[in-house]
């Protein structure tokens, strides 16, 4: 037999080109010394038989301290590459690698082999294959690394003898025995791999008894996009079998198959490795949606302005706007300058509050928190404080006590000036209560803005604030409208007292939200705190003595401390699922989509008034529910009352930063139809 090797290495690789060497004996076809490794190629039994599968062993022995790579090299490195040039009638099957090891390097993780490793290739000869010796061309490239990496390249023409009886004895060639002992075992368990956005779940349907003594489980995936290689994996034993939790990079490439090697470490025995090919389930791709966030700036700006205008008509701001309207009644008795000053003070109140909320939101998002618009209402403490504020404003309107905020008029003069301060405060209040409402057009604008640079965020939210302020700002410029205002009189005191009731309604709704966030005991505490604080404010107003005031302040402070204590210990109460809908999870949605069923998903929050209104006037209507059932549509509800990263991500993938969001996946489709933020029963029924 004659052997030669040649290299196509470019000179810049700068390593030695080894000479061909003759096989030492028996089945060994080639040994080859590259600059940083020695390779040998052996043929099992020394020959191939027509109609049967023979085996080639490709053994790489790197320099001491250097390593080579598995078929998935992990974060970096490279799998060996093999290119075959085969005569007709011969074919090479998929290579078999030994079970890999983890090779950490800095903060990265590679998969490979520290010392010598053998890759086995099945060489399949057709039944009608003939010829005594055939030439098989092989070009191989394998990477050898310590810290620096050196690629090794070589090509050979391998002389493969044909014949059944040649070198039968060499079947026991130790290189093959060793290589086979290092291969992962074939798994006889069924398995499934579910790819979520930030986690992959590997389930092995094993008997619980098979899991006793299991100390560690680690999955080496063959393809990218399943795992963050350097992350620890955790496992749990369940009645279903073994579940391995694998962290995954959000937005990583979607794997095409789930195959890999599972390593199990049992107490008191060497690690076992298994070749598994789990059934792969992948969530709908997020990149389908990548264009959603790309509203042109002018459009987002326009949406924000009109969204802000429409926000004036939404139910949440109504109580505050009625206060503002009430204050405006006195417009006729103010100078044009004063009217305008108040108009601008109101605008400034809205603008500054928007900027404050957005500023905090941006800062938190920069810190990595998955939060969106309305995030402050996910904090029970904020909800509690807002409820207290509403009650205090209501009591002040009702005349229980007087807080100098501007609505009560100055002194006894009923048509009293609102004052710039009062107007400003109303702007702040309007913004605080407006956030739970989403007006049409607002959602895409906000969703867009929050993915943009700082100045775009400021621009879009300023327009939104301006839109909200615009009606009263315009009115403050109109002398004609001011002239139409009725004459002030005793009637205004009654109207003012009447306005306390919508404020109290707002407070009731906030207590309801707080109840959902903290449970019934939490809501009870909040109500008590509300009463104590009201009492302390009242006491403060009644007494002039120092002791009285200290007492009032202490009661108020103690109540607030109690409230923050209750809010921090908050545990969201469990929501009961209705009969026809289930709670949203990526897993659940994926299962339903997998089964080809039509799915309606709605994202809502208890503090989101727009959501609640939509649900009452559209989604929960009998005809809508009947239509959903008739078409066998599965309904999933994503509840964003409390912070939930999974839901925040889904919202973001549809270019949104807040609720509501309505998605309909027609039967067999993974692409959702996105419904508008304000829906009617017919808009749902029409798309079904």
């Amino acid at each position: 037999m004659k052997f030669f090797s040649k290299s196509i290495l470019a000179p810049f690789f700068g390593f030695l080109i080894a000479c061909a060497s003759l096989p030492a004996a028996g089945a060994e076809l080639v040994t080859y010394d590259a600059s940083h490794s020695r390779v040998s190629i052996a043929l099992e039994a020394g020959a191939i038989t027509p109609g049967e599968t023979g085996w080639l062993a490709f053994t790489i022995n790197p320099r001491k301290g250097w390593h080579t790579y598995w078929k998935n090299s992990g974060d970096s490195g490279a799998a060996p590459i093999f290119e075959w040039h085969l005569p007709e009638g011969l074919s090479v099957g998929a290579p078999l690698f030994a079970a890999p090891e983890r090779l950490p390097i800095a903060h990265l993780m590679n998969y490979g082999f520290k010392g010598r490793t053998t890759i086995l290739f099945p060489l399949i000869a057709a039944a009608d294959f003939h010829g005594s010796t055939s030439t098989v061309g092989l070009t191989a490239e394998w990477l050898v690394c310590e810290i620096e990496c050196v690629p090794q390249v070589a090509n050979w023409d391998l002389k493969i003898p044909t014949g059944a009886e040649l070198l039968v004895g060499s079947v026991s060639d130790p290189i093959f025995i060793e290589a086979r002992s290092l291969l992962p075992e074939l798994s006889y368990w069924d398995s499934a791999l579910k790819i979520g956005q930030t986690q992959s779940l590997l389930t092995l349907y094993m008997d619980e008894s098979e899991l006793s003594g299991l100390q560690k489980a680690y999955f080496f995936p063959e393809t990218d996009g399943v795992a963050i290689y350097n992350a620890e994996q955790t496992f749990e034993s369940t009645p279903d079998g073994l579940i391995v939790h694998i962290a995954r990079e959000r937005g990583a490439v979607m794997p095409q198959n789930g195959a890999g090697v599972l390593q199990l470490s049992f107490a008191g025995s060497p690690d076992q490795t298994f070749d598994i090919e789990p059934k792969l389930a992948v969530m709908p791709k997020a990149e389908v949606r990548t264009n959603v966030g790309h509203l042109p700036f002018w459009q987002a700006a326009l949406y924000a302005l009109f969204g802000g205008l429409i926000l004036n008509l939404m139910p949440c701001v109504f109580p505050i706007l009625s206060l503002k309207a009430f204050a405006f009644v006195s417009a006729n008795y103010k100078t044009a300058t004063n009217r305008r000053r108040e108009g601008w003070a109101y605008t400034a109140g809205i603008w500054i509050s928007f900027m404050a909320i957005v500023g905090v939101l941006m800062a938190l998002r920069a810190g990595g928190a998955a939060i969106g618009w309305g995030f402050q209402l996910q904090e029970p403490l904020f909800v509690g404080l807002l409820a207290i504020l509403m009650v205090l404003v209501a009591l002040s309107l009702a005349g229980v006590f007087t807080i100098q905020l501007g609505f009560e008029g100055s002194g006894q003069q009923l048509a009293g000036r609102e004052g710039a301060q009062g107007a400003f405060f109303k702007g702040v209040l309007a913004t605080l209560v407006a956030t739970p409402c989403t007006a049409p057009l607002m959602a895409p604008a906000i969703g867009f803005a929050l993915t943009q640079p700082f100045y775009t965020v400021v621009a879009v939210f300023s327009l939104l604030a301006f839109g909200l302020a615009l009606p009263f700002l315009l009115l403050s410029y109109s002398a004609r409208v001011a002239a139409m205002m009725p004459k002030p009189g005793a009637w205004m005191e009654k109207v003012k007292q009447g306005l306390a009731f919508p404020m109290l309604l707002t407070a009731v709704w906030l207590v309801y939200v707080y109840d959902l966030q903290t449970g019934a005991a939490g809501a009870l505490s909040l109500l008590m705190v509300v009463i104590f604080i009201s009492f302390s404010v009242w006491l403060w107003g009644q007494t002039q003595s120092k002791t009285g005031r200290i007492l009032a302040a202490s009661i108020g402070l103690a109540s607030l401390v109690a409230l923050s204590y209750v809010s921090f210990g908050a545990k969201p109460s469990v929501h009961s699922e209705s009969q026809f809908e289930a709670a949203y999870s990526e897993k659940k949605l994926d299962e339903l989509l997998e089964s080809g069923q039509p799915v309606f998903v709605y994202f809502s929050a208890e503090w989101c008034i727009t959501c609640k209104v939509n649900e009452q006037i559209a989604l929960f209507r009998d005809e809508t529910q009947a239509a959903l059932r008739a078409k066998n549509v599965q309904v999933l509800k994503g509840d964003w009352t409390n912070r939930n990263d999974e839901i925040a991500r889904v919202l973001a993938s549809y270019g949104r930063a807040g609720v509501p969001l309505y998605l309909y996946f027609p039967a067999g489709s993974r692409d959702a139809i996105v419904l508008p933020e304000v829906i009617t029963a017919s808009s749902i029924i029409d798309i079904l």
Binding site: E148, G251, T290, A366, L557
Partner: protein, 206 residues
């Protein structure tokens, strides 16, 4: 005083929120970075707003990088994209004492001798930007559009090999993504597995 107390309480809530690493995600805003280029000038992501940006992690001693530079392949791509209006920034994250670590003068000399069309060479020897972007290999490519949205990340092409012959018929992922981006299409392969030498980060892990 009451107000202060409330602020303090609210402050506590905000501080206690978990902070997670913000790795680049396709379709989302690229992580903001700040660094220094080979000329000693400060460089940050926002400098490039309004222009498409390509970040190329590189190491002149890496054989995979050499394949693309010695063959002229990388320079051709750089020239094509920079002439079409993109900004090309090569990033060197090799730690001091590790292969491929260079100072500004050496980086500029390399740019000249290799005929690179890179607009800037970003020196990141402490690996901050590399870790921020999750750069794993040299080369590792990120395509960021004019609105600072990540559009492509991963390998430069589909040939994880050091042989020049692998360039023939290679499917260049970056050029494909660029083409689709400029035609306003959805990018078919927005994320691929990068190949090449490990970025030579310092061993001090964070």
């Amino acid at each position: 005083m009451l107000k202060l107390k409330l602020l303090a309480i609210l402050g506590c809530i905000w501080v206690s929120l978990p902070a997670a690493a913000l790795m680049p995600v396709i379709g989302e805003r690229a992580p903001e970075f700040m660094g220094v280029d080979s000329k000693g000038n400060p460089v940050s992501l926002s400098d490039f707003t309004g222009k498409p940006l390509i970040l190329e992690w590189t190491n002149h001693r890496c054989p995979y990088v050499k394949k693309h530079y010695k063959s002229g392949n990388m320079q051709r791509i750089q020239r094509q994209l920079t002439e079409a209006g993109a900004v090309w920034v090569s990033v060197i994250s090799s730690a001091p004492g590790k292969p491929g670590q260079v100072d500004g003068a050496k980086a500029d000399a390399l740019t000249a001798s290799r005929g690179s069309y890179a607009d800037k060479i970003l020196l990141d020897s402490d690996g901050t930007i590399g870790r921020l972007y999750g750069a794993k290999t040299t080369p590792h490519i990120f395509l960021i559009d004019a609105q600072s949205t990540v559009r492509y990340m991963g390998a430069i092409d589909d040939q994880p090999s050091t042989r020049k012959s692998s360039l023939v018929g290679a499917r260049n992922y970056l050029l494909q993504a660029w083409q689709e981006l400029s035609e306003g299409k959805t990018i078919t392969l927005a994320s691929t597995k990068p190949y090449g030498c490990t970025v030579k980060y310092s061993d001090v892990t964070d």
